[in-house]
Symmetry: C2
Subunit: 471 residues, 2 copies
């Protein structure tokens, strides 16, 4: 609970209307996109400037109040649930695109800008901002930066961190730092910009970002290849890269995903296929033409049962929208959907899908897998029911084994969703005890009082590693 | 001085031959590529494995011995001078290319691999590793990672940090951490990989790196445009980017540089030009053709006096080699050469060159400017004589004012050379007091005893800011 004096100070900073403690506000900000996680905050605040955030942080520091910064809360790692209460700081009022600089190909934005709207805005100017998380219609750039969001174009274009050139951020004590600039090259001290990207609101509050833009690809072309044998699909992925073609998008949907996506989007996907690849190439017309032709050939060599090139943008968009709807479509099946993002080197995609299927069978749970085959970032998704404790326990055990498998294959526990609460017990599996210690040291350097998004990234206890049965 | 017990322990780890305390070894490792900086270490050690480095660090921690890790010592910021004595750890024995993975387009290397040799090796396999610092014939990958080296291809392809996917590193206490992996997407905790890149040996000792490779561009084409008016050259740079052409290389040489480079490389550059641009585009043949044509047109619009497209690779290489020799050529003029790398947003290139010339005149010092126009990374280079204390003082004052100008124009004190000793007094100008404090906190989290490359990045005293006279 916040005492009245603190509440008054906070209202003085942002104005009466923008600090709320009513039940409606508290409940609306007690959860995020993650299932089975909820905790009430003590207040919700809506700042409109870096200065206000700085003032808020000074009060939070003096009074040891946890601050959970959030945008739309579309994250899937419990990253913005206020587990220790305190104040949820919502960045939606700071939603201006301050500048698009055509000479330096940069933009300056506030964190509350909606990703999809920003992408559309710069596309209108003939420019391109590649990071495209599936949540982009509602997610904010600030949230994308906090989580280092990826998306469908990660393989060719990288993820959010590759497009953040500079940040304005407020530290736990209220100090304001400015990192980077409109610069490709800047080695003045440690790279705080890249450190803050993906730090999940635990190191500082981001209040402004300088983003890198690139020229818009002149053209793009989209195709699907369908396989009765999932290994044919996996081999196709490897072979495309081995042939030094880097497609803009290279997505995979397994059979359970195909079924629900088609039921949801009604685009006539064949339900008897083991896997579908959605492949897009963009760039210069001649290159796109050549690459799509070569990919076509590779798909045939790998025994694709059907190969279709989208006739026009409309058809292509339908396909990509269907893919982006996979989570929503799966979510209709049963009351609770748990979407994970274990990631492996792309050469291990087939092994990972096989291991995932075997694990699902072993624990008798429903897991559909889809994701970014080209960059090895898979989304095994369990549909279950939170009220069935026994089944949920089996799902959790299955995921623990999936994380173990990913690490064994040279991968990681999370490719683009973040650690948050959900993956915290597994962090040490990936980065080791010494790695966790170093990260905790960094956290303390930035936030010695542990008021910025506490209980995230670092778990009280590391989960015991699963002994995986091979063979 | 190291006591005999410690020396014996170190010899036991690496073998008799690979720990040296003779004068020859000490003097050879008392300096690096930076002028006017020298300090004798107490010993020089040559480990051959991560395990040996770990053992060495345990002894260094227990005995509070400074460890200065180095490759070829070609840095220009005093980054590897052992200012507090201790042991210089030379990584040249760890020089294996462990693996090139054609399916994941990655390589695993030890830090002592020579950059140029690595580039040639992967090119032989049809792949491409873009970071190409001018020192690449002698510099090591480990040194490049420590300094986040850039080069001529930074504009289009980014710098070293964009190609490091994972690291094995030994912490000050001897613990080994492994970060990242063969993964485009990995958000398991803070991004230690990117934090270690550019950390100048102050946070950990890098003993292995996973590098990202990309397909080799199918073709490239090189041209020069020569200007009697430097602003024509600067406007050309801005206009190229504004037209959404991102050349692979876009270099500028001012008149003093043209003169010495031509005297050195004898390639017949016209000595009456105010500036020369060297422009290279690579990629798909049709795109390269179109881009070069369009650039040609822009150069003409901006009143270039001569425009020449290199007839073949040999002619192009001659041009690029001449550019790479700028430092060497300038170094022949007078006993001491001080090469800086103030960096500005690319739209400010012309302003920065003008300001640099005015500052050189004001302090009556010789400064030639060349550098990476496309990414705003300029190398104003002073030729002077270390024995002339008064002149050297004027050079230092001039550079302080150049750094101030760069920051005023939205730039930074160092684009690709690092902070080291030389820029440490200016770090706060760029990152602010709060930024320096946060960085010091990170340093303490990694290296609480301050034994890893002490006296680097953080200065005892920040230089007073110059009041710049405008107009």
């Amino acid at each position: 609970m916040l005492n009245e004096a603190v509440a008054r100070q906070l209202r003085e900073i942002v104005g009466e209307k923008f600090f709320r403690t009513d039940q409606e506000a508290l409940i609306a900000h007690s959860y995020d996109g993650t299932p089975m996680l909820q905790a009430l905050p003590d207040g919700v605040i809506y700042p409109e400037s870096t200065e206000q955030v700085s003032e808020i942080m000074k009060i939070a520091s003096s009074n040891l109040i946890p601050i959970v910064t959030r945008g739309s809360g579309s994250n899937l790692c419990g990253g913005t649930t206020p587990l220790q209460g305190g104040i949820v700081m919502v960045m939606h009022r700071m939603n201006k695109i301050i500048e698009v600089d055509m000479e330096n190909l940069t933009a300056i934005v506030q964190p509350g800008v909606i990703t999809g709207q920003f992408i559309a805005h710069v596309e209108g100017l003939g420019l391109f901002y590649p990071p495209d998380p599936s949540s982009m219609k509602i997610s904010t750039i600030g949230g994308n930066i906090a989580e280092c969001s990826g998306g469908l174009r990660g393989l060719k274009y990288g993820t959010t961190k590759d497009y953040v050139l500079g940040l304005t951020a407020v530290l736990a004590n209220g100090s304001v730092i400015r990192t980077g600039g409109k610069l490709t090259k800047d080695v003045a001290g440690y790279d705080l910009t890249k450190l803050l990207v993906g730090s999940e609101g635990t190191l500082a509050v981001i209040t402004e970002a300088i983003l890198k833009l690139i020229p818009q690809p002149k053209t793009k072309k989209t195709m699907v290849a369908m396989y009765k044998d999932i290994y044919g699909a996996a081999r196709t992925v490897s072979k495309i890269i081995k042939n030094q073609i880097i497609p803009a998008t290279l997505e995979i949907l397994d059979n359970p995903t195909i079924r629900v996506v088609d039921d949801f989007a009604k685009i006539g996907l064949p339900l008897d296929m083991a896997a579908i690849l959605i492949i897009e190439q963009d760039g210069e017309p001649e290159m796109v033409e050549r690459d799509i032709e070569k990919i076509h050939l590779i798909c045939r060599e790998e025994q694709a049962d059907r190969i279709e090139v989208a006739a026009d943008r409309e058809e292509a968009e339908k396909l990509l929208t269907a893919r982006r709807s996979a989570f929503t479509a799966l979510a209709r099946l049963r009351p609770t959907t748990i979407l994970e993002d274990a990631t492996v080197p792309r050469s291990k995609i087939a092994d990972m899908v096989l291991r995932t299927n075997a694990i699902a069978q072993k624990y008798n749970v429903n897991i559909a897998t889809f994701g970014h085959a080209g960059d090895g970032n898979l989304h095994p998704t369990a549909t279950t029911d939170a009220r069935d404790r026994e089944e949920v326990h089996r799902v959790e055990e299955a995921f623990a084994e999936i994380f173990e498998a990913a690490i064994e294959l040279g991968g990681t526990i999370t490719g683009e969703h973040g650690v948050g609460v959900v993956k915290a017990p597994y962090l040490e599996w990936k980065v080791g005890e010494a790695g966790v210690e170093v990260m905790k040291g960094i956290k303390t350097a930035f936030d010695p009082l542990n008021i910025l998004n506490p209980s995230k990234i670092f778990a009280k206890e590391t989960k015991k590693r699963v002994v995986v049965q091979h063979g």
